[in-house]
């Protein structure tokens, strides 16, 4: 089908991605005057994305209850000073309004007898609101429909249309019927989530950096790419989604091969409630000591606690019952537990956006996990992905509507044949590379713990060499048997691009921060490395630059020292001889 015959959608605002960020973008765009708002998703909006499988917890600063400066201090310290503190202050100022809106739209949050929001401890010292798993996105989809947002399901977007340096829309294809699709819009919000590289975390395997790839190829600044969100999950069976805030909040213990609770050695204050980057980093160091495998032990949870888990995490607990681990509201055995490979979600890499969620391309906005999570630094603000999605989604939608009203009309685009060929290409090949081959090749390259978790220049360079080979010898020849596999082919290609950017960024940061412990630079350097690394595609190549964090303007500043990273010192104390 020539692009001139493709089904074309027109709107004032196009929102790509139907999770919480996308839903908020669409709703706020409508509220702020955009008449025609389309929300497009490659699956069924409200039943896909990390939002749908979210772990039942939502961290919200409540203005009349919480102390602003305490929260800023805590989040920046946990974020290792990589936070954009202007963004953080805006986030804290906005988030409770979003909660009240969600509450009014039918999202159910756990409340006490007086009807007040109930909050209980999660990991990393946070206090979370609780919601009931998939019910959150079900309510949000209903609200979008009620407000007259046009929902386009089962269309995967593969590229942004730009003209004269501004965004003009996007292209894609129908994942089931296969037709090429064109979207023309004055403003575009990319709310496609992070990139989980189809790793072990069941429930997140649709999150393949599709928006990251589109944003990068369109020339957007991308940052925080070296910081990986390191969730942990069941090693040997599928547990449908994350749940660590709940498990840690209720008192889960982590044991190594010897049955030893090792976390107090790595985080004497928070112990088993440590943030994920410390937990997975600790497991990596313990593995170097030969103390893997690891287990999560929740056998001491009371039946009331297990019943709470069932309400807040209905899908993971169904998996545990089906696996014979939950019996009569008791967790009957410890479970082998392992970190995911590197990935971006809730914190970590994405589009650099200003306080209006604008990218550096006029008319192009980003929200949620597709952004670089500016407020979070190297930590997830304890269940901060959904709050970030709500806050950035609302801002992106509002300013996208404003741009659509006041921006110049998009220039007519002469031809979309190149975008069409890029989109439909794999379907037209008779022979080619299996998307499964690329998916596995990417995973095999970045997942070994000595690549992403215990990093070193020689290993990173070798992995980057492999990824470049994958990009040149496999990705251009991806083939697809049908539209379902066309989606898989694009997901594979997007994963490959994200993996390559991750490794490039990891090589550049010559210190240890976040989940990126550098064996060759085992210190946290608050003298030379209070910087963000920013990538932009220019002339077909990726170019990196650093930007100084304006730490002097911020409220929370670190000691300007270079200090051995705790993983290095604790590793040594536990008998590890670093090379």
């Amino acid at each position: 089908m020539r692009s001139s015959e493709a089904e074309t959608f027109e709107s004032d605002v196009l929102v790509i991605g139907g999770g919480l960020a996308g839903a908020f973008s669409a709703l706020k765009a409508k509220e702020h005057g955009a008449e025609n708002v389309i929300l497009v998703d490659k699956s069924y909006a409200g039943k896909s994305g990390c939002s749908t499988f979210a772990a039942g917890v939502f961290t919200a600063f409540i203005p009349h209850v919480d102390d602003f400066n305490t929260w800023v201090q805590e989040i920046v310290t946990n974020g290792e000073y990589m936070n954009d503190q202007s963004w953080l202050e805006q986030h804290l100022g906005e988030v409770f309004q979003r909660v009240l809106e969600m509450d009014s739209w039918g999202v159910m949050f756990q409340k006490d007898d007086r009807g007040e929001f109930l909050r209980t401890p999660g990991r990393g010292g946070s206090r979370n609101l609780k919601f009931f798993g998939p019910q959150l996105m079900e309510a949000m989809r209903k609200r979008c429909k009620k407000e007259g947002i046009r929902l386009v399901d089962w269309v995967m977007t593969t590229g942004l249309i730009t003209s004269g340096g501004r965004v003009a829309g996007a292209v894609g294809f129908h994942c089931r019927a296969g037709g090429f699709k064109i979207f023309r819009a004055r403003s575009v919000v990319v709310a496609t989530g992070g990139c989980r590289f189809k790793t072990i975390l069941s429930g997140h395997r649709m999150t393949t950096g599709d928006g990251h790839a589109m944003l990068f190829r369109a020339g957007c600044d991308m940052t925080n790419l070296e910081f990986s969100q390191s969730n942990v999950a069941a090693a040997n069976f599928e547990m449908s989604g994350p749940g660590m805030n709940m498990y840690q909040g209720l008192g889960a213990k982590f044991l190594n091969r010897k049955g030893e609770a090792f976390m107090p050695s790595y985080d004497p204050i928070l112990k088993d409630r440590a943030p994920l980057r410390m937990l997975s980093g600790a497991m990596a160091v313990e593995t170097m000591l030969g103390n893997n495998p690891f287990y999560i032990d929740m056998t001491h949870f009371s039946s009331e606690q297990v019943m709470l888990l069932k309400k807040v995490l209905p899908l993971p607990t169904m998996a545990l019952e089906r696996a014979g681990i939950i019996v009569d509201n008791q967790i009957t055995s410890k479970i082998e537990w392992v970190p995911m490979g590197p990935n971006w979600a809730s914190y970590g890499g994405g589009a650099k956006v200003n306080l209006r969620c604008e990218t550096n391309i006029p008319g192009l906005f980003a929200a949620g996990d597709a952004t670089a999570k500016m407020a979070a630094g190297t930590n997830e603000m304890g269940a901060g992905a959904l709050p970030n999605a709500a806050v950035t989604g609302a801002l992106a939608g509002r300013y996208a509507a404003e741009h659509a009203r006041t921006g110049e009309p998009s220039a007519a685009v002469a031809t979309l044949e190149e975008l069409r060929d890029m989109t439909m290409g794999p379907l037209s090949r008779n022979t080619g590379v299996d998307p499964e081959q690329v998916i596995l090749a990417v995973q095999e390259t970045i997942t070994p713990y000595k690549i992403g978790m215990i990093r070193r220049e020689d290993r990173l360079k070798a992995a980057l060499g492999t990824m470049r080979d994958i990009r040149t010898s496999m990705v251009p020849f991806l083939y697809a048997l049908d539209p379902h596999y066309l989606r898989l082919a694009h997901e594979a290609g997007n994963m490959a691009l994200c993996a390559e950017l991750f490794l490039e960024a990891a090589l550049l940061r010559k210190e240890s921060r976040g989940t990126g412990f550098r064996e060759d630079f085992p210190f946290r350097d608050n003298v030379n490395w209070l910087k963000w690394i920013v990538f932009r595609m220019s002339g077909g190549k990726s170019e990196a630059r650093t930007e100084d964090i304006p730490i002097e303007k911020y409220k929370v500043k670190p000691e300007r020292t270079i200090e051995e990273h705790p993983l290095a010192s604790v590793g040594k104390a536990r008998g590890l001889k670093w090379e």
Binding site: Y44, P314, L315
Partner: protein, 72 residues
Amino acid sequence: MGIRRIDEQVCTGCGICVDHCAMDVLRMNDRTNKPVIMYLRDCMSCFMCERDCPAGAIHVVPVRERRIPLPW
């Protein structure tokens, strides 16, 4: 291996599972008007189809079918 069974005796052909599967594992068989497991390897055992089926026709097991590399 993820979604294991759709009980055709109990299934009403409502199509909710086909709509709600985020990984596009299921399609409607246009001859039987019942869902079929068309792309099994993409099933991630999320249990959403089993949860959302109004007839209780679906059974999922949490077994990982696709080989996924682990960090160690």
